[in-house]
Symmetry: D2
Subunit: 137 residues, 4 copies
């Protein structure tokens, strides 16, 4: 599990006075970027290997609205890995440890022609993800 | 079922050259606004009754990336209604009838103090939603 | 002058209860897309000619906040055209004819290698823009 | 002058493969939040005094596109202060010191009823801004 810290921006609020629900999906993406950097696979490296890993599904459960000025912890965990799919889970908490939202995302692996590939074709990436998965469980 | 038509904007694309996945959550919201207008409950009317109906959960499955310049049909359907929760489903299709994404959202009902209320306290809104639900099924 | 109609979306509001100021820059872009379609140069056609026309500067003056539920008229006009630059002006009005914002944007022309080109290399596009400019003035 | 550091997020890119031009306006806002915190006026404090300071105009000149994965320095400076208006300037630079964009924003002061007020009604805020202005020049 890794924790990505993130301040809420003014432009992310809506007229209800809280973070618009669509922005949590963007926070999840930022947390993934951070996670991949932490395990040695920053975007630049993945790009060099001509791999992209798009989102195939996302879910989010909203518990307590986050507010402008708050600093959020986004806990991200790799919870599943198959030959063709990775699954991440997220918990967003405010500075008081209250849960704002939880969620999950699934991702496939594509080559630079947009064809589905298996993670076996990227042994070092597979190894790094396998290591994370083991540590989590 | 109602169909909300929507052109893809340039600023909604990302460096993969397709609509960024977070924007579908925003398209769903636009489709709900349209749906509520169509059944006689535009935002102004709901606001007068001092009700808000925030999203409590959302899911989205991504099938085929939508592109800039495309015109999307967002099919929206009320698929569930209890005293404290409404559930909508969505199918996003491009101009060729191909499915870009599917999804669901759940919503509760709050008064202007942020307290949860039941839909029974808004009989005319309940009636309109009940009518939609019957027609769907 | 062309008029692009546009409803304000909920997710475009901020905690001040009005459209966030950054979104007007996006409305301007939507209006340009509309303008170019109307003069026979939809994005697909410009893309075929392997031209892009990025924004080199933008200004916006905010007069009266636009609100969720409002339908805006975005008046767009080509106000300048040189070999290497086009200039558009914008007036955003609400349904009561009140001015929400005014602005301007400047654009250069690039080929698909990112090199600056002059509009003379696209005679049909130049002709269409020249015609607009004449009609305006 | 204060420097706000900011990584580019994936969802801020567009199909040209670079940060969408509208996002710089949002980066400017983030930099202002940071600036105000640094001079002792975080949002929470300004809110307590029932003041808001909306944007009345913004300009941005685009020099070199910023890319996903880059870390930007946003240099922010208070360049003007009158009874009813503050003016900030911005320079966005990448990690190589290259200028991505420059800009300016102007702001008025409103009370919680939306009425224009002068900065004299907030002596401590005026003092903090005056001090910044002197140091700059």
């Amino acid at each position: 599990m890794k924790i990505y810290k993130r301040k809420v921006n003014y432009y992310e609020t809506d007229k209800m006075g809280v973070v618009h629900h669509s922005n949590y999906i963007r926070y999840f993406e930022e947390a993934r970027t951070y996670f991949l950097e932490e395990i040695g696979f920053p975007y630049s490296k993945i790009e060099q290997e001509k791999i992209i890993s798009p989102v195939t599904s996302v879910t989010c459960q909203y518990k307590k609205p986050a507010l402008y000025g708050e600093t959020l912890d986004i806990e991200i965990k790799l919870v599943g890995l198959s030959a063709v799919k990775s699954t991440f889970s997220y918990i967003v908490k405010n500075q008081n440890g209250e849960i704002n939202a939880t969620g999950q995302s699934e991702h496939c692996f594509l080559n630079d022609k947009g064809r589905i590939i298996t993670i076996k074709s990227m042994p070092s990436f597979k190894e790094a993800l396998d290591k994370e998965l083991e540590e989590e469980n």
